[in-house]
């Protein structure tokens, strides 16, 4: 199992502990608040992912160890929590694995069925951008 798949399993197991929507959201909001700081100079138009109702900024760098590290932020806290969840899965992985990853965890954790179409489109756009960075920086 790849690191990415293993981390997805972890997230799925974590969310099984939260049976109600409130607990899930509480956790997501918490994750949003804990997301590491976003470099101010990167908070610019070209780093915004279009397709989200709130603003999402995403950048990526290839570090010396050859792995890809993402920075992200959002002006909405729930989105920020979602972003945080994504980065936990994708951060510091090889580009080839990011490109190849199967994104099944969103449906399994029982958040996606609660999401609006706008939110789902936003998440899809986010995953696409993460994979694009994975491809370009591999």
């Amino acid at each position: 199992m790849s690191h990415i798949a293993a981390r997805q399993e972890e997230v799925i197991a974590e969310f099984q502990m939260f049976p109600t929507w409130m607990e899930k959201y509480e956790y997501i909001i918490e994750l949003g608040k804990e997301l590491e700081g976003f470099p101010e100079q990167e908070r610019k138009e070209e780093n915004i992912i279009s397709g989200c109702q709130s603003k999402v900024w995403l950048t990526a760098e290839k570090r010396e160890n050859g792995l890809i590290h993402f920075h992200a932020d959002s002006d909405a806290i729930i989105t920020k929590g979602m972003v945080s969840l994504m980065l936990r899965i994708f951060n510091d992985q090889p580009g080839s694995e990011i490109v190849a990853a199967d994104m099944n965890f969103l449906t399994t954790i029982g958040l996606l069925e609660n999401l609006s179409q706008t939110r789902s489109n936003g998440l899809a756009a986010m995953i696409k951008q993460i994979k694009t960075y994975g491809f370009l920086l591999q």
Partner: protein, 408 residues
């Protein structure tokens, strides 16, 4: 009967309201986006397809006559409902946006020239901005904008924005972003004094108070059927008859012609002149039924319930002080736009949705307004005549719970 009993009675006529959303009773407060449909409207559409579906106007048979008759009866119902002088002044469109585009193409494009001014207000819906920008691009006319006070009303000196160059005023009667009711009667008078034509966007007004277009004396007025308990995809353009007949044609094709030859084609008079192709027959029939249903409820009662909803909401806005409530003007509909500098309106909307409360979040298609106010949008709760006290109680509870979650 008490008001509560009356609302309960009305609610029974809306099948969609009686459902659970994510385990909670649905609280539908997105009526400025679209209203729900009473059983009578739904049934009218079914019975059209079950009993008399046929193409209108030219059919030489029994069903075609029934369909044509039903369609034209809807036109009569609308004429009566909005207080127009002639039935020919009622043009069926796809909706408000389509009606504005019709006037932009069939009148403004050919009547305006370089230096002429079109006047709108800052709070206009994009549908009442973008068509005029296109007109300006083609004709060299200039788009002028009335600024707003912080409460969403037009600035006190709005009359000074009308001058000899003003050829067209196109303004929303009620703002979909703030719920503020603007002084349209005065605006019509001012526009006409300056020799300008005036189009009124009544999309957010039509289900709140009588339009009385002949008395209002506006040149055009537009609204959508789906915001008046009717189907989507159908709307109305009212225009003064002589003006409609003097306008250019917009879409061309079947039914709107008088005689077609390769040497030249002549056109019908209004309204058929503007209704090319097979119309949205089921939509027209559904809208006619919606108007009959709505008229049956009556303005007196509709006004009473809206005043009551505003009263209920006074306690909500007073209780939920963590939010900023926009548009607290004296003349407004039961539409509440709110926001907080501490959290995003999208977060609020998502958490309310989890609790079965349907509202709208975002820019509400009024981006220039939010740009001017340095905001990204709001969350918006908008009422219709079936919203009861329980809805406001649930809204308040869900707001408080959402805020608690967000602040943590």
């Amino acid at each position: 009967m008490s008001l509560d009993q009356d609302i309960a009675h009305i609610r029974k006529e809306f099948p969609i309201l009686h459902q659970k959303v994510r385990g909670a009773s649905l609280v539908y407060l997105d009526n400025a986006a679209t209203t729900q449909k009473p059983q009578a409207v739904i049934a009218s559409i079914s019975s059209y397809y079950e009993q008399y579906n046929a193409n209108v106007h030219r059919g030489a048979h029994y069903l075609a006559n029934l369909a044509t008759d039903a369609m034209e009866k809807s036109r009569d119902a609308i004429q009566h409902f909005i207080g127009a002088t002639h039935r020919e002044e009622i043009i069926f469109t796809q909706g408000t946006t389509d009606g504005i585009n019709l006037v932009a193409h069939a009148w403004a494009m050919t009547h305006l020239k370089i230096g002429d001014e079109i006047l709108v207000a800052l709070s206009e819906h994009h549908a009442n901005i973008v068509p005029w920008q296109q007109v300006c691009k083609k004709t060299g006319a200039i788009l002028k904008v009335i600024p707003l006070n912080p409460d969403g009303t037009w600035v006190a000196d709005w009359k000074t924005y009308i001058n000899a160059q003003t050829k067209l005023v196109s303004v929303g009667w009620v703002s979909n972003a703030t719920g503020v009711v603007h002084p349209i009667h005065e605006m019509v008078e001012q526009a006409h004094n300056a020799g300008a034509k005036i189009l009124v966007d009544a999309a957010q007004a039509v289900s709140h108070f009588p339009l009385q277009v002949a008395q209002l004396n506006c040149d055009w007025l537009v609204f959508s059927g789906h915001k008046l308990f009717g189907p989507t995809g159908i709307g109305v353009l009212f225009g003064k008859l002589d003006l409609l007949n003097a306008m250019e044609v917009y879409r061309t094709g079947g039914e709107m012609i008088k005689k077609v030859s390769f040497e030249g084609t002549t056109f019908q008079e209004a309204p058929l002149k503007f209704e090319a192709g097979t119309p949205h027959i089921q939509g027209i029939i559904g809208l006619g039924e919606a108007i009959r249903w709505f008229s049956n409820v009556g303005w007196e009662w509709i006004h009473k319930i809206e005043m009551q909803q505003i009263e209920w909401m006074k306690s909500v806005t007073a209780e939920v002080k963590a939010l900023h409530w926009i548009g607290e003007s004296e003349r407004k509909t039961a539409l509440y736009s709110f926001w907080s500098p501490q959290f995003h309106h999208a977060d609020l909307g998502e958490l309310l949705d989890q609790q079965g409360v349907a509202i709208r979040t975002g820019h509400h298609c009024t981006q220039p307004l939010w740009d001017a106010w340095n905001m990204s949008g709001t969350a918006r709760a908008s009422f219709a005549l079936y919203n009861n006290e329980e809805d406001t109680v649930q809204l308040q509870k869900s707001l408080i719970k959402s805020i608690q979650l967000l602040i943590g």
